[in-house]
Symmetry: C2
Subunit: 180 residues, 2 copies
């Protein structure tokens, strides 16, 4: 699929059909994720690919437990219904003080690559600044070593339905010439 | 251009030809950047589009001044030679505690959209965790209001040359089934 079309059609998908995504497709998507830029070309990524129902349920429970009050309208239970959940992590030493950026750039590639293949996905954070409990619970669940940090959680699957186009804020209010 | 091809061909470009990028093309790229996902669909982005040579030089000087010792091999002087520099910012209130993620996801779109159009770009950070001076210098230079934070700096231009494909770390060392 054309890049511009993938960007225009991508939506956050939280409802998945009961249809698998093959290991070969997941591998292909992760090959594209790890082609993101990274600080000092450290390529610090690790991807934990979760298919076990109990682990997906546990990830949903962890996200719900650490959900801030203002986001309670978006429970993470749908993680348990995605055929595959990818937890994107970074090796801290290879990240050159840019753990979050490195992880998020790979996640962005994954979201677009999924859309280009007709799959759905959504970006979830695996950490909260100043509140380390979310990250440490994810690390414990997935046996992630001390020197590696989870950054984001991306479920992948076939969308149960395609949401309508979203209303966009006006571009001209976002663009500033020379100064803000 | 196909999404997969854009991802595979994208490289960080720091040398630009003396050829302009039209305002219409920049607008088209920013239209794609603002289609990134954002926390609670806040769409918090602001884009400061810098073409003034003195301002580009000042951005390069700020980046160089705050460059950590281990990254001194990558001075930011090339910012002064790009026809356009986009400073990606986020409205803090619209970011729902996800300033950095929201900004980086838009930056990732911008990098890929530039590549799909044959342009070059590179991701630079506009902030450093725990060291607010970089961000505050950028804010002062561009008259960015208190409630808006710069996240990244992305020069755009026609590449002076195309770097060779980069060596990638082995994918199989990055993928972990079920647990790390």
């Amino acid at each position: 699929m054309e890049l511009e079309r993938a960007i225009r059609l991508r939506r956050s998908i939280r409802h998945f059909a009961a249809r698998d995504v093959s290991p070969a497709v997941v591998k292909r998507l992760l090959d594209l994720a790890r082609r993101a830029p990274s600080s000092m070309n450290g390529q610090p990524w690790h991807f934990v690919v979760v298919r076990d129902p109990a682990t997906k349920r546990a990830l949903a429970d962890i996200k719900n437990r650490h959900c801030p009050p203002e986001k309670k309208a978006f429970p993470a239970d749908f993680l348990a219904h995605a055929p595959v959940v990818v937890v994107i992590c970074v090796d801290v030493e290879r990240s050159h003080d840019r753990e979050l950026e490195n992880g998020v750039l790979a996640a962005g590639h994954l979201l677009l690559a999924a859309r280009a293949r007709g799959l759905g996905a959504v970006y979830l954070s695996a950490h909260t600044a100043g509140r380390p409990a979310l990250r440490s619970d994810v690390k414990r669940l997935l046996a992630i070593p001390a020197a590696v940090d989870p950054v984001s959680i991306v479920p992948l699957g076939h969308p149960a339905r395609r949401p309508a186009a979203k209303a966009l804020r006006e571009l001209r209010t976002m663009i500033h010439d020379e100064r803000f």
